[in-house]
């Protein structure tokens, strides 16, 4: 096999299981790759080479002993820094948590360990997952491997960039309004936001609890499915975790078949406001799906026009409460404790110094939206809009098996371009947000490059709650057809770094 770091996860796992390569070699190859390119990309905030190699060594020992291993054993992974990992720095991209090492593992990390997936380190993100560009990280922006002057998407830009830069074949993201799918879209990778409650949130530093959902990221649909299966399933530590069997996403990815499938094009997600090249690739993808035997029909979800407004009230409201605990009393940064200042002052000085501007902006907005006299008009009304959006989805899913749209209105924009314009930044998530409001699952996968800028375009597939397998069925079929057409995965076209 060629460069180990260019291989996909399922290929690597197979090679490790058959002793063609060792897990240590695979891990070392990725660590070397990180050393070589991460100076340009800045996908990782923290790499623990020693711990990764030890984990890999343990996998090799199991292989040698003939132990039956999981389908991704020995494959390296980048973990979004929003997930707690025992003893490892966990910052959520914020200065307020600099140096914090959790005394516990998130459920996702526990399951990764149980699956013998090798955790290389923590990937960069917008501070507390607030953003669509990873420029809001307190530790510097991540650069898009397709064009280092451009954003890798956000908030999980570090995870997506690590995949696109071949620093890791697998990554974990979290998706509150598109933070897995939009980075996947602009980096030419695959990302899935599972049904809410499909993957445990325990140990994920909360942004908006009713929207947050961890999920798998990879370079192929099959790899994404394998990772999905490794981390999904009921967790008694998360009260909102679904206590039902996980749909067989791996089988669906392998079957990759849309014959007879009814695919709904969401009228409200597309057209005006979408970049020409994005619309063009999107239309081609729909034709391919049709040629594969799917029935493509247009459906309308009229309430979606209110989704962005509802989202930008619900998210800051919940975030303002979730982020209250960062007060400098028990962990993290403390500022102004000079023996003279009272506790209220020290809390205020700590939070003022520890949070970045976007976080403060959203905390202020959320505090306002929940405050007495405004609750009904803002948070309460936004929760009603959520009901309407869910009803739209339900009505649409009575007609079709999955819904589709472009993942993001544009390809990757330039670093700094939208940094001071929150509204413009928020508009990036217009197509991904309805999914989070309704709690359903969705995938983004690459469908080509926009002719005008040569940057990846993402295609979003949405399925009803607890039917995440349909994402893989359709995504797998589309990926196979496109790979056939191109002769390789789109990611192979990414420039050398």
């Amino acid at each position: 096999m060629g460069d180990l770091f260019r291989q996909n996860a399922s290929v690597l796992a197979n090679a490790i299981a058959t002793k063609e390569v060792s897990a240590v070699e695979v891990t070392q190859a990725h660590l070397d790759r990180i050393s070589a390119v991460d100076g340009k990309v800045h996908a990782f905030l923290h790499v623990n080479a020693q711990a990764a190699l030890e984990q890999a060594k343990a996998v090799d020992a199991k292989v040698a002993a003939g132990t039956t291993l999981g389908p991704l054993a020995g494959v390296p992974l980048g973990l979004k820094d929003v997930l707690a990992m025992k003893g490892e720095p966990t910052t959520a991209g914020s200065k307020i948590l600099e140096g914090w090492r959790p005394p516990y593992d998130s459920t996702v990390v526990q399951r990764l360990r149980a699956a013998d997936i090798v955790i290389l380190g923590k990937t960069n993100m917008d501070e507390f997952a607030m953003g669509s560009s990873t420029e809001h990280s307190a530790y510097g922006a991540t650069h898009n491997p397709w064009d280092l002057d451009r954003i890798p998407g956000g908030s999980g830009g570090g995870s997506a960039a690590a995949l696109a830069a071949f620093e890791a074949p697998l990554a974990i993201g979290t998706d509150t309004g598109g933070s897995i799918r939009q980075p996947a879209s602009v980096t030419g990778t695959v990302g899935v936001k599972p049904t809410y409650g499909g993957v445990s949130r325990y140990g994920q530093i909360a942004l908006a609890s009713s929207l947050d959902q961890p999920g798998p990221c990879a370079r192929t649909v099959l790899d994404t499915a394998l990772l999905h299966a490794a981390i999904a399933g009921h967790d008694p530590m998360d009260s909102t975790s679904i206590n039902a069997p996980v749909p067989d996403v791996v089988a669906a990815a392998k079957r990759a078949d849309v014959r007879g499938m009814k695919i709904g094009v969401v009228k409200e997600l597309g057209g005006e406001g979408y970049q020409a090249g994005v619309s063009q690739r999107y239309a081609e993808a729909l034709e391919i799906l049709q040629s594969l035997g799917a029935e493509v029909i247009e459906v309308s979800c009229p309430s979606f026009e209110y989704a962005l407004g509802a989202y930008y009230l619900i998210l800051p409201s919940e975030a303002s409460s979730n982020l209250a605990r960062f007060d400098g009393m028990r962990y993290g940064l403390r500022v102004g404790d000079d023996g003279n200042n009272g506790v209220e002052q020290v809390m205020s000085m700590t939070r003022e110094a520890g949070f970045g501007p976007e976080v403060k902006r959203r905390i202020m907005l959320g505090t306002y939206a929940l405050s007495s006299g405004y609750y009904d008009a803002y948070y309460g009304q936004a929760q009603k809009v959520r009901t309407l959006i869910t009803r739209d989805f339900n009505a649409a899913f009575e007609q079709v098996d999955v819904l589709v749209s472009p993942t993001a209105p544009t390809t990757a924009f330039k670093l700094g371009e939208k940094l001071d314009d929150p509204i413009a930044m928020y508009l990036n998530d217009v197509a991904t947000i309805p999914v989070n409001l309704a709690g359903i699952g969705a995938m983004s996968l690459p469908i080509g490059l926009a002719p005008e800028d040569g940057l990846p375009v993402g295609f979003q597939i949405m399925a009803p709650a607890m039917a995440d397998d349909r994402l893989y069925l359709a995504g797998g079929a589309l990926e196979a057809a496109l790979t056939d057409r191109w002769g390789h995965l789109l990611i192979e076209e990414a420039p050398e770094l």
Partner: protein, 98 residues
């Protein structure tokens, strides 16, 4: 919707425990206004008879058994504390009685 004054921003800053600077007070009163205007469209939705949705996947009665499980060690519990004394978290003096 009402517009947000500088004094409103200062009050919100106190509620949220943010020691905002003078320039932030100006900046946020402008920006919050803009954001609120842009999200204000949701009030157009006539939704009197629509139930609010607080949980995306409807579930009820998720309980755990009343069983004691191991806690952290005290060392683990206190490890990240900015200040400790006498096995406790040390915090600045509390001026305002709750």
């Amino acid at each position: 919707m009402t517009s947000i004054s500088r004094a409103d921003v200062a009050h919100l800053g106190r509620l949220a425990r943010l020691e905002l600077t003078e320039s932030e007070l100006d900046h946020y009163s402008e920006q919050l206004d803009v954001i609120l205007q842009s999200v204000a469209r949701i009030s157009e939705v006539a939704a009197d008879d629509i139930p609010p949705m607080s949980h995306p996947i409807p579930m009820v009665n998720v309980f755990r058994d009343d069983v004691v499980k191991p806690s952290l060690t005290r060392q683990e519990a206190l490890a990240a504390a900015p200040a400790t004394e006498d096995d406790r978290f040390r915090v600045p003096r509390i001026l305002d009685e709750e």
